[in-house]
Symmetry: C2
Subunit: 376 residues, 2 copies
């Protein structure tokens, strides 16, 4: 790895976040000077304003907006609290220091000082939705406000990460990470670059155990791909890096169990999720395709019939629910899959592919890719 | 990072595991040839044979052993199953390929072939305890049998990892991992070396968020330490690497919340746990010391009084239970801590140290180390 001293490393490259915060602050000061009621506008994030947009293929917010103003008894406290959050985030950006929404909460709770009994916030449950208000109002993700989310997910493949962090810029070669892989951080947008990406496609593997299996086989190297595991449900950072790799033109294939949880993981990567609908376009990858395992695999890879396990009630119920989705109805391949599970009450884990030999997992993936056997 | 082709990379360096398996197999064949009842001995892992050994400071198995023999109606099936597991692990070692206990289960389930209705195993719950039988009988951890456990935990600091993996040996510099850190793998013993360790001590930080905070401050660099987060409860791999770093003479300090879960994380790192008592000496670090946060911090760092949160019933109940432990009774510092939580019904999170300024976390650690304010 190379190490380079970076001039002005303490100057954050966090896109528009700081100017956006300053613009918002100036607008509010203007309004006050004019004797007006200071206010800002945030898109509503209630369920009624979250929609699956078939045209773009992901969950996003609708057009409903809410105005938050200071001279409104019901909103006054929240308005003040949101301004306090904005001021703190501006400070973090100026300092080029990161924390979490919990760290921010503690700063806010302390912000009136230890000699004052009152706090701006009493519970983190108060500050969390106001952070989202700020995100949608400014059009900036919380990562851009120097607030880290939980991280999870690992990557290996022919690509390099240029990470400007602390006082240095490090170059991490994701093809030289051995058994460990490169851990996907919370923020994959600011002060970080992905270069020298040489890959035919991206394979997203639900389980870390299967990722390790393929990594040990050098699968990403021999197949020339980027190998990612979200380690279960994908974190914000992992969803975002998948989106970014798709933006570079790489096909995205998702490889999960054939069960309710596996489908949910796929669906979340593909279309986003209710709670992240407010940043849907940044974290959803509608181009993603499902590579397996599928119930139809039982016909082609007959040994798997011996390795199915009982579907849980949750699996069957979820499959029945999914059959009612318009999108599923329009994609018969999925109807076949779901009906097969419901009828047989069996499911299939990706781990089962190791049954005949450990290296079969990679053979399976190659076979699927070669024969273009993927689900939409 | 340097890359070197390693001669015979496909030949595993897995210590004694393969010869041990072969020795066991030969013994059993000998017994059969002599017309004797083939058998092997495993230390019992029932609760009655697990003890906290005050002399060594960790949970370990007692002396009770069980004989498993083939010509015993109650044991015959299990004996055969254990031999099947041993044969599979021997095969994995020969192939130099790894899997998980779930992957092993699927191989065993398939092992009679797809045309035979019978399976050697019907449930993974059958194979798991037999793997432990093998581990204790051979004196080899499952990682040495090429069975990976779940991995979790991240490390940064002045040390290098030499990881022989797939066909290559990679050198990973843990001081050049940027925001991500090096992900601690399942197996930190076989085909892997830790070199150029330059550190005064190891700091184990319960929460990944706090690890990231200290990592961003370059704390491991300015303080010259190894910075680890188990990301909650420590995995086998993380406990093992802490043990190995302690073996190199580095002091181990553990930094958690002051609550039931934080104490449990510390206690597990220090003394091991019931379910891993059978490998107690390999994963426990009795030398570990508790650096905080403590209830006593409220006296010295008075701002924290504003940032305590309500202790849950679980927290209080656990504190009351711990007061009955002989070890706690003998360590008055802990009695003070526990009684203070029980009385105040308050607890303290490590995140709260960010209240006055984000960088205070590091100042706190330095202060504690300087003043040797640690609990046993």
């Amino acid at each position: 790895m190379a190490e380079k001293k970076v001039a002005k490393a303490k100057e954050s490259s966090n896109g528009g976040a700081k100017p956006e915060l300053e613009k918002m602050g100036k607008n509010i000061i203007e309004e006050i000077k004019k004797g007006e009621n200071p206010r800002f506008v945030a898109t509503t994030r209630t369920r009624s304003n979250i929609l699956y947009d078939a045209k773009v293929g992901y969950l996003r917010l609708g057009k409903n907006e809410e105005e938050r103003s200071f001279l409104n008894v019901a909103q006054s406290k929240k308005f003040m609290q949101t301004m306090a959050i904005a001021a703190k985030c501006h400070q973090f950006l100026t300092q080029n220091l990161h924390t979490t929404i919990r760290g921010l909460y503690y700063q806010l709770k302390f912000s009136l000082g230890e000699d004052v009994d009152e706090s701006i916030f009493d519970e983190q449950a108060e500050s969390n939705p106001l952070i989202e208000d700020l995100e949608v109002s400014l059009g900036v993700k919380r990562e851009g406000l120097n607030l880290n989310a939980n991280r999870k997910g690992v990557l290996a493949g022919n690509m390099k990460v240029l990470d400007t962090f602390g006082n240095e810029k490090v170059e991490i070669d994701c093809s030289k990470m051995g058994r460990s892989g490169w851990q996907i951080p919370s923020d994959v947008d600011n002060d970080i670059e992905f270069v020298d990406i040489k890959a035919k496609y991206v394979l997203v593997v639900e389980k870390d155990a299967l990722w390790q299996r393929l990594n040990e086989d050098n699968f990403w190297k021999t197949e020339n791909i980027i190998l990612i595991t979200p380690q279960g449900q994908a974190s914000r950072g992992t969803r975002r890096i998948i989106r970014k790799l798709a933006d570079k033109g790489l096909p995205i294939y998702v490889f999960t169990d054939s069960d309710a949880w596996g489908w949910y993981i796929y669906w979340t990567i593909k279309t986003g999720s209710i709670n992240l609908a407010y940043i849907g376009s940044a974290v959803a990858t509608p181009e993603a395709r499902f590579i397996g395992v599928t119930m139809s695999d039982l016909d082609k890879y007959t040994f798997l019939n011996k390795l199915t396990i009982a579907a849980s009630e949750v699996d069957v119920k979820r499959a029945q629910e999914m059959l009612n989705y318009e999108w599923i109805k329009a994609h018969k391949e999925w109807v076949v899959e779901l009906e097969r599970m419901i009828k047989s009450k069996k499911k299939l884990e990706q781990d089962a592919l190791q049954g005949p030999r450990l290296t079969f997992v990679g053979e399976y993936i190659k076979d699927k890719i070669k024969n273009k056997e993927v689900l939409p």
